[in-house]
């Protein structure tokens, strides 16, 4: 029998890499525009009165969040799956025509769904549940491409040669199952047209009302974020960091412990979005307690990553990809200690409804999610395109621009958030409110500007990233063989 290495087929991974770049650019560009709108409201009308309706802050915000979460991040996750899945299961997509067909259909259905999502959100179709804004016909499309992803996971696992499932596969499976459950439960609506025979066919009314709706929404909202912005990305760093550094994962037991405890603890923490609201007190307390417990599994994974570098720390100075990965693990630790702090009831009393929350989301999203996805793409690109990374110097420039951007972002939003929280509750010596609401808006102007600058720096870095990847695809000579560990790159 012939004994040669498997030829993996990256067709689908390549497609998802492209959509990562496209949606990442759109999502971040809109983010910058939103930041400018908060600093200077004139940016709501800078394209003229006719389009003002479609680019006003309230319309754009869900396109920004959906674009970055379900466009950029999810594309990155799918690209990661279609790359890692084959390699750790030791099967090639080329071995099964059916799985290849499923993979391609998965991509196109996903792409169409995202395109229609953008169009429908611009035109004002919005269920308003955060990160779950799409109306029911689009939700059905989402379920369809999700099912196809499930078929792809099940299929590849089914024909695998490597019998034991690697850690990354656990995390992908968990993502698939959890998001399926949460998404379907949170989006159960009754299409009003079919019941009443009138009105807009796109419109549906939620089966959950008021407080129940809030609970289901934040059970979804917190965990959809958790199972898209955390779980699969942890799975990806479990693969890419050892590969890129040539080091074995520090501890199998620690990965086991962090995985199962993350699965159990994460979902409980949704209640921390509803502290001091009208949901039952015990649920708020549970949300608060479990958020604090959540530090353990999160830090377990992150420490496992950092200790993987034991004895090899010089790589951080030499390799920009290792830089990205280590900084993203560090931001992961940072965001997962900040979140629990905000979930403590007395802190939440100040932090809730303020920009500190926005800051928290973004040190996670820009620092952890963005960096690990870009590092993953940088690792995949030379192997997929069989070409060296175009420029190491550009990677370093990008790294420092974006790091500076994230720092400006979260520091300004911390100060802004705590300023708001303190101004709202301040009283004078007679016990009357010291400030009117608009005073707290005025006070934020300078922080909104700093945040916008941070966002622009991050976007600039992302444009460099796109350029570097595109150049890698086209400008470098094709290599004969693929390098096994560190990413080959031109100086």
């Amino acid at each position: 029998m012939e004994n040669r290495p498997l030829e993996y087929d990256y067709t689908v991974a390549k497609m998802f890499m492209m959509s990562t770049l496209i949606f990442g650019f759109i999502g971040m560009l809109l983010g910058v525009l939103l930041a400018l709108q908060l600093a200077w409201p004139e940016f709501n009308y800078f394209l003229g009165d006719t389009v003002a309706e479609y680019i006003s802050f309230g319309r754009l915000r869900p396109i920004h969040t959906s674009g970055v979460i379900f466009g950029f991040t999810l594309s990155g996750i799918f690209a990661g799956w279609y790359y890692i899945g084959q390699r750790v299961l030791k099967v090639s997509m080329a071995e099964s025509k059916l799985l290849m067909f499923v993979g391609k259909t998965h991509f196109w259905l996903y792409f169409i769904a995202m395109f229609l999502a953008v169009v429908s959100l611009f035109s004002g179709y919005n269920q308003t549940n955060e990160y779950s804004e799409l109306e029911w016909p689009l939700d059905i499309l989402v379920v369809l491409f999700w099912v196809l992803w499930g078929v792809s996971i099940g299929g590849l696992v089914g024909i695998r040669r490597e019998k034991a499932l690697y850690v990354s596969i656990w995390y992908f499976m968990a993502t698939f199952l959890a998001v399926a459950m949460l998404f379907i439960m949170n989006n159960i609506v009754i299409p009003t047209y079919f019941v009443s025979g009138a009105g807009d066919i796109m419109h549906g009314v939620s089966v959950y009302s008021g407080t129940s709706g809030a609970m289901v929404q934040w059970w979804f909202g917190h965990n959809a974020v958790g199972f898209l912005l955390t779980v699969p990305l942890v799975g990806m760093i479990y693969y890419f960091l050892p590969k890129e550094s040539g080091q074995a994962i520090y501890s199998y037991k620690l990965s086991l412990l962090s995985f199962w405890s993350l699965m159990f603890v994460y979902v409980w923490a949704g209640g921390h979005h509803l502290i001091y609201s009208t949901v039952p007190d015990w649920m708020q307390t549970m949300g608060s307690i479990f958020s604090v417990i959540l530090i353990l599994p999160s830090w377990g994974s992150a420490i496992n990553m950092l200790l993987t570098m034991k004895g090899e720390w010089q790589q951080v100075t030499e390799s920009p990809i290792i830089k990205f990965m280590i900084l993203s693990s560090t931001f992961y630790m940072f965001a997962t200690i900040e979140g629990p702090i905000q979930a403590i009831k007395s802190v939440n009393a100040i932090a809730h409804f303020t920009n500190w929350i926005v800051g928290h989301v973004h040190d996670g999203a820009l620092g952890w999610v963005g960096f690990i996805i870009m590092a993953s793409l940088y690792h995949m690109a030379p192997r997929i395109f069989k070409r060296e990374i175009y420029s190491k110097a550009l990677m370093n420039t990008q790294f420092w621009l974006q790091t500076l951007g994230v720092i400006l972002y979260f520091t300004s939003m911390w100060i802004a958030g705590i300023t708001q929280g303190m101004m709202w509750r301040a009283v004078d010596e007679f016990g009357n409110l010291a400030y009117s609401f608009i005073d707290s808006v005025d006070a934020l102007h300078v922080y909104y500007i700093i945040r916008a600058v941070g966002g622009i720096l991050y976007l600039a870095g992302f444009i460099i990233f796109i350029y570097n990847i595109i150049k890698t695809m086209s400008a470098r000579p094709i290599e004969e063989r693929e390098l096994q560990n560190a990413t080959p790159m031109a100086a």
Binding site: P41, R61, I190, T192, S196, H203, G210, F353, N432, L433
Partner: protein
Amino acid sequence: MFHWLEKRPFFFGVGIFVVIAFAGLVMIIPHFVQQSRPLIGTKPYTTLELTGRHVYMKNGCNTCHSQLVRPFKHETDRYGAYSLSGEYAYDRPFLWGSERTGPDLMRVGNYRTTDWHENHMMDPAGVVPGSIMPKYPWLFTNTADVDTGWAEAETVRLIFNTPYNKDIPMKDGSVSQVKLSETVEGGRADALIEAKLVAQQMKNQDVKDMVAAGKVPEIVALIAYLNSLK
């Protein structure tokens, strides 16, 4: 046990699902047994108010404004009584929001008037100097989708027994009814009657002309909704 699981993807998947579904089982399911019950005095939205609620959602007002007054003195001083669960019984979906880029609107109907909203939506910074809220001129010319407002009311009446055309107990011991027409044509007529009452207190001539021509501008529906928030 874990080594055994890692070689059996099906049982591994079942294991994951049980572990993640557990929290939902404990926190979410029991709550449905005890459905949201309205407070005495909480009424469902009229056709026009529901239409206005859709305008609110369409423009993402919830991205900057909360509708949840927390039980702190500084919040009750600023916004009025703190929120109670039953007040949201007819809110599908809830619109609590997660940011206060602008102030809370839970009880905005208690302290703002139609006239104030009209001026404010046209030019927020003209009414509140320093405001960063965008202007919403298109609300004055777009026609509101009253049909969908009616369709939603009819749907919740049929499916969730929302008490339209039924006696609703009020705080003072009296009863009150919220009318819902059986047909969409009736719904349009009801909404127009309500819209005329709102438009009477407005000064924008385009709005007045549209209402006179039998159409409901988005701004009128939105103001009807905001006025109902008490």
